[in-house]
Structure formats: structure tokens, C-alpha cells
């Protein structure tokens, strides 16, 4: 089995686009929250979200016709292009290698799907836009990346495991490179703001009117967000040979399923997933310096997740932060953005803070690094992701 390192990071987010601006925003504890403009919010008492503004898709989507890829696919393509550039590689070099493109998503083309549904409802199904119908399938997220970068010899997959999908995709890339099936992997996640997710969480009373405040005693839920993040993974050996910078090594990951409840996470199962990941990484709980939590900011998630963390790590768990406090819940992109934040924290020696924090919920009982980043030399970092359907995925990154 080969060792696998992250040599390129591409990010589209509400707080910064590109690895360096994203790292700066994380360090500053910037908030991406603003009034939602992606869809009509009339009738909702509040509608704050973490939208990407000023995104210029034509900067990144140059080969694939723009009308063949929806907003989430554009985020994926942009992130992948940035990751390749950031790794100091060219598309020509990648084309010569067997590779993998794996993009996680919750909603895929649901923003298009909702516009098609509106046509269906208001003007009849005959009036739906055929161009949008063709680009709707979520498979276009991963194949869009391959088409844009002209990569033909790649294993492409769009992984649709809801809010844990980014970590799933990274794990998939890690395994393909580790086993020698692929010599590089472009893996991460992307999602665009959509009405369905917002409406569903709103209906459940799980959207915070103001800001996302994970682990806070006054937290009131998620903010929906959007964005994309892609990591370029390659074998440690090839990275060394070409003198590439490694942000971090992927040490291992774990996957399991609660098989218990569609929307309520099961603490024991989440703990087991963390244990699987640590065992896969060959790491003892005491060696973990930081947990990047799923940390949605809902009452239920944060208590359950922190309980699972204490179950795996004991009563003095590592510092546990939620970048969703800054980015909102970017769904399938969330754990990819979290993994990118972990890799950047390892490389630049800081811990991103949990912002909007006033008072830690005693039922959470963790040090969430409130409001201000801290300098730290991180050796092992764990990135958590939980999802509806009981889909858990935990990725462990580090520097050895």
C-alpha cells in the first residue's frame, strides 16, 4: 500500500475562493452569512445563508459548454482546476496517468431541478427546459471535471451520500491511489444553494435566523450554504520525486452506517466510525490534535456528536472546531471543505476557530476554539462527517 498525500487544494466558498484566500479567511474567522439571494425567500420569516457571491464560472469552465453544467458542477470544475494548478501539475501530465475523479454531493443539480419543478407546476410538464433536464443528473459533477480537464483514463464517480459525501469521495480517492489503481485523485465535494434543503430544515425548525453557532448553548440550527472543494491526492513517492509541496498526508478513513434512523444520528455508531478511521490510520486517540467536527449547529447533532467524541476520546477530547460556523452547511461540499481546512491548518500551523460563539453548551463539553484562531503545530487531525441515512465518514489527515 502506498502513502498518499494532498498536494493541491481548490476551494470555492462563501468566505474565499482558492486555497490561500480560503486559509486566510479561516484564520480570520470570517463569516459567509448573508441574506439568501439564490431563490425567492418570500414567505419565510428569515432566510440567512452562506452563498458564494461573485463566482465567475467562465474563469474555470473553459472547455465544457457552460449550459451543460449546473452551478454545483461548475463549483466542482473550478475547485478541480484550482487543485491541479495548486499542485504545480498540468492537465497534460495528468492525462498520461490513470486517475480518479470523485465528487460528493447532496443535491447534485437540484437547483436546476427546482426550476424544472416550478415550470412543471406553473406551466405544465411540456414547458420544462430541455437543456436543464439534460444537465440535471448529478453524474455531471464528476464527469464535468473529467471533460473540462480532458481526462479520459479516469474512474469517475459522483458520490451522493448526502452531507457526508465529500469525505466519502476523499476516501475513495485515497483507496484508489493507495492500492495503485490510480496515480492521482481529484476528490472532494460540491453543492449549490437550493430551496429544498433550506425549506426542509426550516420546516424542522433547524435553521438559525442569524448565524451558525455550533456547540453554543444558544444555537438554533444550521445555515444552508454552498461551495466546492477538491483535493489533489498523489502517492507520497511521486510528490517527493517532483519536489511538490505536501499539505498533509491522508492517514486513513472510516465508513459505516447507523442503520438506525433516517435523520437522527446514532451516537454509538458515530463513535464506531471514528474508531474505524483511527484504526485505519494507525493512530491512537491520544495522538489526535484536532477534530474538525460535523458540527452543524443543530441541538441534536452537536450533542450527539460531542457525546460520540467523548466516547472515543475520553473526558478530555482534543480541541473540536466547526468550520460550518463560518461556511454554513454546504451539504456534500461540507466535509471536503472541512478536509481542505484541516490540510491548510496542518500546513500553516493554525486551528480555524468556531465563530459566533458566546457560551459553550455544557452538554457538548468540548473546547471549540471560540471565535479566534490559534497557532498550533498539528500532527494528526480528524475530519468528521455525518449524514441523513446514517451515512458516516471520518477522514484522518496528518503530517509525519
Amino acid at each position: 500500500m502506498r502513502r498518499v498525500v494532498v498536494t493541491g487544494i481548490g476551494v470555492v466558498s462563501s468566505i474565499g475562493t482558492g486555497a490561500a484566500p480560503f486559509a486566510k479567511a479561516l484564520r480570520e474567522g470570517r463569516s459567509g452569512a448573508r441574506p439568501i439571494g439564490a431563490f425567492d425567500t418570500a414567505g419565510f420569516a428569515h432566510a440567512t445563508g452562506c452563498e458564494v457571491v461573485g463566482f465567475e464560472p467562465q474563469r474555470w469552465v473553459r472547455n465544457v459548454p457552460l449550459d451543460e453544467v449546473g452551478r454545483a458542477a461548475r463549483f466542482a470544475i473550478a475547485s478541480a482546476r484550482m487543485a491541479v494548478d495548486d499542485a504545480g501539475l498540468t492537465e497534460e501530465e495528468l492525462r498520461r496517468l490513470p486517475g480518479l475523479v470523485s465528487i460528493g454531493t447532496t443535491d447534485g443539480g437540484s437547483d436546476d431541478g427546482e426550476r424544472l419543478a416550478a415550470s412543471y407546476v406553473h406551466s405544465g410538464p411540456e414547458s420544462m427546459d430541455p437543456v436543464a433536464a439534460r444537465r440535471l443528473p448529478a453524474s455531471t459533477l464528476a464527469t464535468g471535471v473529467a471533460r473540462e480537464l480532458r481526462l479520459s483514463d479516469v474512474d469517475v464517480s459522483t458520490i451522493a451520500t448526502a452531507c457526508a459525501a465529500g469525505n466519502y469521495a476523499i476516501g475513495n480517492g485515497f483507496d484508489a491511489v493507495r492500492t495503485g489503481e490510480a496515480d492521482f485523485a481529484l476528490c472532494g465535494g460540491a453543492d449549490a444553494m437550493c430551496r429544498m434543503t433550506f425549506t426542509g430544515f426550516y420546516r424542522l425548525g433547524a435553521v438559525d435566523p442569524d448565524g451558525c453557532r455550533p456547540f453554543d448553548v444558544n444555537r438554533r440550527g444550521i445555515l444552508t450554504g454552498e461551495g466546492g472543494a477538491v483535493l489533489l491526492l498523489e502517492p507520497l513517492e511521486s510528490a517527493r520525486e517532483r519536489g511538490a509541496r505536501s499539505y498533509a498526508e491522508i492517514l486513513g478513513y472510516g465508513l459505516n452506517c447507523d442503520a438506525h434512523h433516517q435523520v437522527a444520528p446514532d451516537g454509538d455508531s458515530v463513535r464506531r466510525c471514528m474508531e474505524l478511521a483511527l484504526a485505519d490510520a494507525g493512530v491512537e486517540p491520544g495522538e489526535v490534535d484536532l477534530i474538525s467536527a460535523h458540527g452543524t449547529g443543530t441541538k441534536a447533532n452537536d450533542v450527539t456528536e460531542c457525546g460520540a467524541i467523548r466516547g472515543a476520546f475520553g473526558d478530555r477530547p482534543p480541541r473540536t472546531v466547526s468550520v460550518k460556523s463560518m461556511l454554513g452547511h454546504t451539504m456534500g461540499a461540507a466535509s471536503a471543505l472541512g478536509a481542505a481546512a484541516c490540510a491548510l491548518g496542518i500546513e500553516h500551523r493554525f486551528i480555524p476557530p468556531t465563530i459566533n460563539h458566546t457560551e459553550t453548551d455544557p452538554d457538548c463539553g468540548i473546547d471549540c476554539v471560540p471565535n479566534t484562531a490559534v497557532e498550533a503545530r498539528l500532527r494528526v487531525v480528524q475530519n468528521n462527517a455525518l449524514a441523513f441515512g446514517g451515512n458516516n465518514a471520518v477522514v484522518v489527515l496528518g503530517k509525519r
Binding site: A42, G43, F44, T105, T106, G108, S110, E114, L116, A117, A118, Y120, V121, H122, P125, D129, P130, A133, R134, L136, P137, A138, S139, T143, A146, R147, R150, L151, S152, D153, V154, D155, V156, S157, I159, A160, T161, A162, Y168, N172, D175, R178, M196, T199, G200, Y202, R203, L204, L255, N256, C257, D258, A259, Q262, V263, S269, F388, G389, G390, N391
Partner: protein, 328 residues
Amino acid sequence: MGPVITAWSAISSCGVGRAALEAGLVRPSPLDDESPGTQAFLASDFVVREALGTKGTGSMDRSSALAVGVVGELLPGVDVDARTGVVLGTTSGSSQTQLEFTRDSLTRRKPYFVNPASMPFALMNSAAGQAAIWHKLTGPNTTIAGGRMSGPSVLRYGARLLATGRASGVVCGAVEEYSPTRAWLEHHRGGTRVLGEGAAVVFLESAGTARAPLAEVLGIATRVAVDGDPAGALAACLHRVLERAGAAAEDVRTVAVSAPEGALAEAERTALARLRASVVDPAEVIGDVGAATGPFQVVTLLRSPGLAVATALDADGSVGCVLLRVLS
């Protein structure tokens, strides 16, 4: 040695379970809903409340119910433990559930007067998640939005889970609903074929531990036709799996085609021109089952001993094939 298939099951217009598909009765049903077409291959024998009972199925949609049902048909024949995984392919999840959720939001007195219980079903991972919840399968649980590439995609992903020890065995397959919303989307994409609904799954295990394999998965290859030549890309995939298996084109005895629409169908024929195999098209029996096409190709091949190939092409540019050695 690659992984092996040790069990399978299916639900389709032919009925529920293996024997029904093997009997292969062609029964398209007339439609009287708002669909663009007049008939579809509906899995009418699968009645959710009869098959699964009333408990827990109240808000379950048909896609998830099909997944729960087909996995339930499969499991009695296989060994399940805490690391048994589920990997299902899909096109877009349940388009019908998504449309209905959005319709409620757009037409009711308040935009948030939606049924929160239907929200998780609107997500693409619902079918796999529900199958795991219903049957207590706690291993890796993955949904791949592979469209018509779902066959090669779920087998390769499942094989990787086995090779890395993440799963002890994997339920691999796909589900596709029939619904007016799916039919209209396919209509607007230029689809002209009679649609079907169905779910097919196989159980994938490592060769060393399996008791009674039905087939070995000798190879899976996929490419993205970035140059606009899907026939050439598919031919390259065929070449690769045969070469790696040390087999020649004429050794392939059976091909199950995916039979896509239009130019892709032509590309599939072109890529297969060198083969002298007998050709089967599951869609003739069960209709166009979208993402489930690949898994149905694979289970159809399991009745034809010898080397067998299933091909896949998606409108998004991806192509691929699976090479099996079906054991007699």
C-alpha cells in the same frame, strides 16, 4: 483474483425475485397518469404494503421501497455481519419525491408547509440508507449517482471496499423508479424508449471466502469520451479488460448491452462489432430502467456460463464495461 458474485435478486415488470425475471414475461402496463407516454414496464407485482407491511412504510417513497424490497429478497441467501455494505447506483434519486416536495413549497399557503417526513426521501442516498435501516446493515453505505454507468460504478466501488477490507461483503445494485416526473425529464432529454421501473442487486464477496460463487468479476474498465468518441472509448475499455484477463475478443460468449438512445446506441454497436458473442438486451423484457440497467445486465448474464461482458454508456460522456466469468 477479483471478487465474486454469490447471489442476486431483482424486482421488475416481470415480478419479484429471481424466478420471475428468469421467466421473463413481457408486460408493459398502460398508463393513465400525466405521463408523456402511454405505457411503461411497471413492477406491478411489487405492492409496498404487501411486501413490507404497513409499519415504517407510511411516508416511504417507491424508490426506497424498491431498494428495501430487493435487498430483502437477496439477504436470505447470504452471510451478513457488521461490515456488510450496501452500494447502490441512481440517476437522480426519486425525481417524483423531489418534485412533490418543491410543489408543496411553491403552492401551499406558506412556502414551508411541506411534509418534513418526505425530505430525507428526496435525497439521493435514501434508497441505500433505507435498505440499511430496514435490514440492519451497518457496513459502508454508499450511493453513486452514476446514471447509466451505475453497473460498472457500483461493482468497482464495491470491489474496492472488499480489497481494502472495509466491507466483508457488499450488496451492489441500483434502483430506478417509474414516475411521470422521470418520464417527462427523459422526454425532454430526447428519450423515446418505453421506460421501466426496477431494482437489481448482486452480492459481491472476496473470492477466497465465498462459498458458492455464481461468477467472477474479471475486470471493470471505464473511460470518459472527452474527445466525443464514445465508440472508441468503449472499445478501449473492452480491450483493457480482455487483455488483463488474458482473454481474446472471440472468447466472449455473451454480451448484455445497455442499449442507450440514438448516437450512443450506434457507438455501443460499433465498439462491440469485433465480438462474436450472442447479444442480450434486458430492456426488451423490462423496459429502460435507467441507472438499474447495468445491474440488470449483470444479473441477466448470470444464466450464460462462460466469459460475458456488460457494457455501459451515459449521455454525460462516460463509458465502461464489466467482464465476468459466469460459472456453470
